[in-house]
């Protein structure tokens, strides 16, 4: 699966997503071949893209955070250079908190995608997608970590 990503997006070599380590993974979450969440290198802080459905049928998704820029009235992005963090709030709910550890590594410390219609929540200890919890797993060399939609089938080694 090869998914188109924005031209400014440079994925981190290592991204810790709520205790799950993603190494050389381009897209953490995708829906129908489109990225939902992208966390890329952005100088001193990460650079975030977050998509959300834009109308009630939930079929069309657009970026509501576009390279750390706000693209929806209900969204607030806080970039703190001193702590190397980016925080995204949606309708005053904390949706994402990610910290850059170095040029090549970042950590997602808080994740709550319920405001965009996805039952995915996580913190530094682990992540829950619907009824499945995932903690301290290791993803390597895949284009997409989690593809959401369709029947549940996991391929692991």
């Amino acid at each position: 699966m090869s998914i188109e990503t924005p031209s400014l997006y440079e994925p981190y070599k290592k991204l810790t997503l709520c205790s799950n380590l993603l190494v050389n993974v381009i897209v953490p979450f995708a829906i129908e071949e489109r990225p939902v969440l992208l966390i890329g290198r952005g100088g001193l802080t990460p650079m975030v893209w977050l998509a959300a459905p834009t109308e009630p049928s939930l079929r069309i998704w657009r970026f509501i955070v576009d390279g750390n820029k706000v693209a929806h009235p209900a969204v607030e992005v806080q970039i703190k250079v001193s702590s190397r963090t980016v925080q995204v709030d949606i309708a005053s709910q904390k949706a994402l908190m990610v910290r850059a550890n170095s040029i090549d590594e970042a950590t997602v410390e808080h994740l709550d995608l319920r405001p965009v219609g996805l039952d995915i929540q996580g913190d530094e200890n682990g992540m829950r997608l619907g009824g499945t919890t995932m903690s301290e797993n290791h993803f390597e060399n895949t284009h997409v970590a989690f593809a959401l939609g369709g029947a549940s089938k996991e391929v692991e080694k």
Binding site: P53, E55, L58, P73, L118, G150, K153, E156
Partner: protein, 139 residues
């Protein structure tokens, strides 16, 4: 419709391919779907404008009141002038009150402002926020 997802704990595993999961759904935040009202600068200026008819009328009437009473006050204050009659005061007071009332009304009764407010109200009536998710067709 999908089978109920079993609760699973996956920990310490290695993945070298994409993990495909059923999309875990939640109710999106209120306000995610409600579109902005596109307020053009022209509409914005209309919102600010007051009705020129009422403002003009109000101005004319209050001017009349003032110009009616001032000479009478002046002659009342001078030594051998006529005293101020209650009737005159009443006329001037009424004129001033009516004039000011018209001016105040000019801010609320502007036809153009009402037009824009009606458009805005119609926009939000046909694009309500929270019920948008519940109207989604069943999948």
């Amino acid at each position: 419709m999908a089978e109920p997802q079993q609760n699973k704990d996956i920990s310490g595993k290695n993945f070298y391919r994409t993990v495909e999961v059923e999309k875990p759904e939640a109710e999106p935040a209120v306000g995610l779907f409600q579109p902005w009202y596109p307020l053009s600068e022209a509409d914005f200026l209309r919102l600010q404008k007051s009705s020129s008819i009422f403002a003009g009328l109000g101005g004319a009437v209050s001017t009349f009141g003032v110009s009616f009473i001032l000479p009478k006050i002046a002659s009342n204050l001078s030594e051998n002038g006529t005293p101020l009659q209650g009737q005159d005061l009443l006329i001037a007071a009424i004129a001033l009150i009516v004039g000011i009332a018209f001016i105040v009304c000019s801010f609320t009764l502007s036809r153009e402002r009402r037009g824009v407010r009606k458009k805005i109200r119609k926009h939000f009536q046909s694009n309500p926020a929270e019920t948008a998710y519940l109207r989604r067709p069943p999948q």
